[in-house]
Symmetry: D2
Subunit: 315 residues, 4 copies
């Protein structure tokens, strides 16, 4: 359902105001330090971009700064997997909030290797192992092809940062632990392929601009409104977006729903991707994170935007 | 924001179809048996009612059968408390999904008596203890006054079922345990007042008809669209509804978001209350519950309605 | 099996040395403050007493200072219950270490109200509810009769401290929570009787002197070696003592086994009761507790005694 | 302290009786199936051996059947590590019972990668990584040298079963997960070296005969009574044995203390090693395991032996 959009001038004005509000909060956060390569990023970076379903785009600040997708990749890998093989990935995965930290292994042990949902790390690793292809290389190629297809760009627009990939592969011990537990319970067939794919997918780069563009299908029932290309079915798209609302923001999914009211997916690189169904997508980027691992600036900016443009799905 | 409503005939047709779909599933569920008085209810009962923000009402089946609010009461007690004393109730309560069963005491111990959110039992008991008044009697009177105010009816429309209240008070040991843990951490001042209030509020009765009517303010930014009376501020209303989306359906909040896509609150008496912001409210009632404690028929009927009337907030 | 005892002079010399070592450590600890009445005790108090199976007694320091039994009562209530009704109490209780804090409710919920062992609070409350008698009064009378019988004294030697009892009853919310969870699972029949009994049994008073004397049967296969009276069967006695070794020292059962090597039971009032099977019992008393809630002085003194007198059962 | 030993004829008679009792229970258990190679063992095998500190040895049944050490290796790797580098291994490890299954990763995550004790898998993997040497080969060589030294035999008496090692390495995903979590918290330096060492140490083979012989130092204060060779200090030996009493039997440490009363270490290959300090060691072997993963026959036989020969340390 296409819904009424605010006028372009009002969108740009709201975006500029939201950008200022978000940028002013960056000083309160810290860049992620558990992946060494991410720790080098400038915490004062801040950008934001909007794409509307009728083809307008707006941006402010560092909207063309290139960063790694990290957990924002999870919505696209899920889309790509379900587009390819339907609901199979959910045979060993639930769709409920975990109530624990995104890296937690506790419920995974208690629940026999079945991840709670595709947006916590365990679930995303399982999803990655379902990407078409035998090897991590083939899987990542497919993943980047999906991004290209969704964005109307080509795969080169989404290069992998080798430095970040290396850094994650070297330090991703908790993710390997999750994969080992899933392998024990025969939920994934191969630990190495699964985590290699996951680490590389997290290291795929984009900008706030290209992230908002790539996710436009999520605001349009699974079809890119600009190229007319269908990425996933309406029902699948509904599920992918609904899960963002219930499990997309780690341990701040409730407060984000209250403050913003848009299905969103955050990443430790500082991105927060938000979907206003039928209208637009927003990608905020600010690497300064709050205590729960979400970008402080991006969350604040999204709150301001949602308020001024009346975007919340709960109002 | 008022949104376009389907034509009345289409709503009634969709409702009739949804009612049939829901009713046909009742045989797959079981009535709650942990409260003896609830175990006596006929599992084949099934009704559903819709109220629109422009004043239309629709119903099907046992929409005027009287049942106890149980957990559906939590959205109203939260509304009443925040209307009275603002955000104070959140000083010792979070707003995040718990990831555990609604009665679970595990996180409450780990998190020093601070409930995860107002829609699990611990959080609801804390909320009840914040209702205005010293005694349970005074608090319940205030609660029923809020219902009367929200529904445009009077308090007598919401009598307490003494039999159910007795039954819950006699068997509510887990709820008492939650209250004792909160009392230990000084999160509530008095165990007896808190649980008495909670047990009685759960035993307040309504019908699918009156439940949908009473919650109409939730679909209208906190103001009853029919009487024009403001119950809570727009911001508070947004929070109450957003929390239904992230924590309103126990351990099925994710699958309900996927299947239905409406902020909802379920109860063990078999009610599921759903809010389509800007448009309408729906109250399904079918005491046959699925394995997670939610009404099987009501969830199915809501899914059918949301699909046909394109109500999901995520599409 | 009676084993060789060191000479009396050597025991007294070892005791004096151990007392000095223990007393010097009291400054490192703090009195329990979660029961207000206990918080008033002088943290520099320190006494220790030994009773041998051949009837000798030794003491040092504040060995006749009167304190409440608290958790040390658990070995006697277990003895009394099993003496009266055999293994019935274990129908709903395991005998394994919990790995969690003594007050924890987590495993109790996970394991359907069945306490891990009789020396954590949940298990002790269950045990108390099995004491003969209908009312808490009758049960406590039986409990004190058991103490009298075991010690060769009369019941008046074990008065209840009304002040401490009041204090515990007023603040024992976590214990009430444990009892409510057990009641929910029908593991105990009556919350109030169970916790009342437990609170009073914890408030029964003794001295290091009388505590060592009372427990002499534990070092002698269940029969008081001085009066010749059999309290419990050899097999039961073996179990009561074995459980002290695996679950008697809260979260320090492993380090206590390493440092001391005697089956022991500690209490928040500052007592540590140790059994050297076939030889003697030791009761240390020092209300200054370490971070795990065990008497710092008593643990150190026991370590010194066990070393010098070669008492450890593991050497 | 050397204690009185029963006469040789009585020991042999008790052993024969215990063997019959144990063998008769083998039908109630099942061989471990989570390591494929172990699943092939004949469940009716049953043997038992005793070595006394004065040099006598006794055996019954399949006491010379060769099996893999599995978790029984943990007491020797701990001995070897502490002999080599003192208490360093405990800088990142506690000594308390875990209360959870031996493979559990839950507490490891909650407690920042610090294992609860050296006899659960996580603690044993940490211990293995402390064995002298850079590579797994060097570490295993050192481990087998320790066994040789303790037994008065040579290293060839303790060959590694390559088939079992392969089987464990291929399926040991939970153990790898534990190591990854410890690596994340920098508790171990290298996952691969740690788990390789652990898998091989578990695959070292012995017989009930040689196992009882090898562990004789544990009953004699850390010195082999037959060769006079000191393996570990008396204090270290006390700790190694004390930990067997509190954490050596997985989730049956309490019931084993009650039924047997000897510090013991079990293994999934069906061994139970028990130490009667100052007197003797016993090694039971019966691959039919009970529900908690301990040899049913060996536990029963140990109970009978302890009873008849009055071996329990708690009596």
């Amino acid at each position: 359902m296409t819904r009424t959009l605010p006028a372009a001038a009002e969108i740009q004005a709201a975006l500029d105001e939201a950008w200022r509000i978000g940028r002013d909060r960056c000083g309160d956060g810290r860049v992620a330090d558990y992946i060494p390569e991410l720790a080098r990023v400038d915490p004062s970076l801040f950008g934001i971009a909007i794409h509307t379903v009728d083809g307008q785009c707006f941006s402010a600040g560092d909207a063309d700064y290139r960063f790694t997708l990290q957990s924002a990749s999870k919505v696209f890998s899920l889309s790509a997997v379900v587009a390819d093989s339907g609901e199979t990935v959910f045979e060993h995965m639930s769709v409920e909030p975990s109530g624990d930290a995104f890296f937690s292994i506790v419920k995974l042990e208690e629940e026999k290797g079945q991840p709670r949902n595709p947006y916590i790390n365990a679930g995303a690793i399982l999803t990655s192992s379902h990407l078409p292809g035998e090897t991590a290389d083939q899987k990542i190629r497919h993943f980047r092809t999906f991004l290209a297809s969704a964005s109307g760009m080509d795969r080169d627009a989404f290069p992998v940062s080798e430095a970040v990939y290396r850094s994650e592969a070297d330090t991703g011990h908790r993710n390997r632990a999750l994969a080992e537990i899933m392998r024990h319970h025969k939920v994934i067939p191969d630990v190495e392929v699964a985590v290699e794919t996951y680490f590389r997918q997290c290291a795929v780069t984009c900008t706030a601009e290209s992230l908002a563009r790539t996710s436009l299908y999520l605001a349009n029932g699974g079809k890119d409104p600009l190229t007319g290309k269908r990425l996933i079915t309406p029902a699948t798209n509904h599920g992918v977006v609904a899960l963002m609302a219930t499990s997309g923001m780690y341990d701040e999914v409730g407060s984000h729903a209250i403050e913003v009211g848009l299905p969103s997916k955050s990443s430790v690189s500082g991105a927060v991707l938000a979907v206003a169904p039928g209208r637009l997508t927003i990608a905020g980027f600010g690497p300064a994170l709050g205590p729960m691992g979400n970008s402080i600036g991006a969350m604040k900016a999204l709150g301001a935007l949602a308020e001024r443009l009346e975007l919340s799905v709960y109002r």
